[in-house]
Assembly symmetry: D2
Homo-oligomer: 240 residues x 4
């Protein structure tokens, strides 16, 4: 067993933050399991990781379907023959518009993708983490985690809920050695590729996905005497 | 139309806060529509209101089922032949226990009862409120609205979400004359009847349901120049 | 002693909120002691109260000078021959401008007026409140109580500090029957007189000082089973 | 000028966090200026730094005296012939006890040490940071930054105020390239030396001063696209 690499799982992978998270934890020595709804979101990231000599695998799943999420994690665990030590939950539903136009089933779908999926994924990885006395679970929050703005009800309800889940998990499992933290991403994100295609925009007005991923990594390597439960991230030029 | 009384709807009626809310708004001159899951929760309240000369009607509905909630409100509107001017949303799901034991479908049910039902009910009453340029929507929060404690994840996720909904609604509809507020009930509630049956407990260590209802009423009658969006309520002896 | 009226003290009296607070508590049956820096701020309020048949007295004092505040309260207590049952602390320092221009002594002065004066005044009234097992202390907060905005450092530092004082006092003295609450006034205030002189402005875009005072009164009469520690107040049209 | 090392200043240096901060920034390549009230607090830290080949100097000053703080920083600037690029403000006043026993002058002293000194120090380093378009200012907060507990009024008032200062500074100077962040240290701190002398206590129940210092360093090196304004730190076993 000594030769097996530790496993990190990223749920909610696309060309932006998800890809950067995968690359950062791969660079840190982890085998990375990638989960997203569409194969087309996963393949470019997996290819890039493998071309850099990293170990990665992809599984499509609907984050809003608890069974689907659990199955995907189980597939990764079996393939890597190892229990995940890190879970990065980066999936979220979104709805912009008036409360009058937010259909109950749309709110339910957003809640499923943002919160229920995070619960399901956590339940799938927690037992081994508890047994091993260590693990890291990081949730991606947003401005809407702290503020219910007009036109953002569906997003804010879900992100407030995810924050509550993170707090309850941190309080329940922290003493057992599992670090649960919530990262409030307050602003638009741009990945290196996106930067190239938008050369005329002020680069400093967007969060950099690789810098965000570095923060996740730093949270992961904090010693258990000195853990952060929540922090915010925003561009220097962002009004807040 | 001048003779019709204004209508207030209370969702989540039992012997405690729901009953006190109904009585307070009835005393304030409103016809009160009572909604709860069980007929047995509604009848004692309706009887007491009618015996005091107030106008009340009861409809059973599942707060966790958006269509059921909307139908119940529509039934009340038709019976009273008037659009609701006040909505008091007091229903909530609850789960106490480890995150490992919180089944995804139990979390979904709690979210439906606490948040999705509040959205559905609000959507049913808002159009007339907007047209009339006035209305009051009050949500019952809890300690768990602000804090995700260990063992309280299911409750906290739902109550955080309800708080977000309240904020987004206040910001969207406040300028149109609709007062949306969130009341954080931080402690155990006791109604007058419950007090009699527990004479040996320290009466001051429980919130009084009639005093809470009075606070809801005071929020309702605030002029639109001077509105509260959020307040807390707790016994003088409560640690916080 | 049965014939003596209870005493309320208002610190920080001018034509706006201070005057409205004095009138509301006078109308509620209190002898009112008025404290402000300038005689010219006090006299119109005292005259109006006396012309309405209320009992009032005025003492000039510098809220930023602890001894001055304590002396003023003592003067009121002796004149009315009764210990204050209510303290409304409405004084605050203010500075708008860059942090680079905020002289340390200006910050100290703002802190003295906003926080140290509130401490001194509270210390002067608390012993009798504790002995009597009841009392109400209400602090006037602001948007800046929750948010340190650019250009508002001096005000925000002071108002954050006042909020902390209110919380610590509530937690220490609540169980002894003393209700300490913090009211966040989020917006510009207009008193009835000011309204007349600015007829062309949108009246609903300002808080109404009499409506704010009514909220203070409602907080005061909450039973000890059901106390609010903090609430916000803003116009329906205010962005927040 | 190319050969001059960048300068970091630590205010509030003792055997615990202050020493660890100085060592971490020295290890990162900074000349470190140490400021504390007592020579005896400074000398062991300076000696340790110099024995490790780092550049350090010490100046005694009273953080609660704005002129004293400004002079100390100016002395360091002249000695190193360079403007400080980093300011770590770690000084704070403390008072534990009833609000009734918190003398106004004791509160003023706590505010001076915790907040006014931070303002004065910031004013001394900001002009050059603005001119250079970069700089880092980090404030040490505490549990009391977010919560006014009973018996902690003096500490909480000061720490709430420091948090407000940090927010206002971040909002004013962030767009000019200066990173201002606030670190909430929620729990007791133990430095490596202290650990040796208390071998029987649960090491994980204390924050590790070197791990805290690492977090300050990571905040310092965040790129300006992706800055944290606030985070918390606590032991895995801490209740919160």
């Amino acid at each position: 067993m000594a030769s097996k690499k530790a496993v990190a799982i990223v749920i909610g992978v696309g060309p932006g933050l998800g890809a950067s998270l995968a690359k950062r934890f791969a660079a840190g020595g982890y085998s990375v399991g990638l989960i997203a709804r569409k194969e087309s979101s996963l393949q470019p990231v997996q290819s890039e990781l493998e071309q850099s000599g990293h170990t990665a695998m992809s599984v499509t799943a609907d984050a809003g379907d608890a069974a689907s999420v659990k199955n995907a994690i189980d597939t990764i665990r079996k393939k890597f023959d190892n229990d995940p030590e890190v879970l990065l939950y980066n999936a979220s539903g979104f709805f912009y518009g008036s409360i009058l136009d937010l259909k109950p089933e749309v709110l339910q779908a957003a809640l499923n993708t943002t919160v229920v999926g995070a619960l399901a994924a956590s339940q799938e990885v927690l037992p081994a983490m508890i047994k091993n006395g260590k693990g890291t679970i990081l949730f991606t929050g947003a401005t809407a985690s702290l503020r219910g703005s007009a036109q953002f009800a569906g997003f804010a309800i879900s992100k407030f809920g995810l924050r509550a889940l993170g707090q309850s998990m941190a309080r329940e499992f922290g003493p057992q050695g599992i670090h649960v933290a919530h990262i409030i991403v307050d602003g638009g994100i741009r990945s290196p590729n996106q930067t190239e295609s938008q050369p005329d925009k002020d680069i400093d007005s967007f969060l950099n996905s690789e810098a965000i991923a570095e923060t996740y990594w730093q949270l992961h390597i904090q010693p258990r005497s000195t853990w952060t439960q929540e922090l915010d991230l925003r561009p220097s030029t962002e009004e807040f």
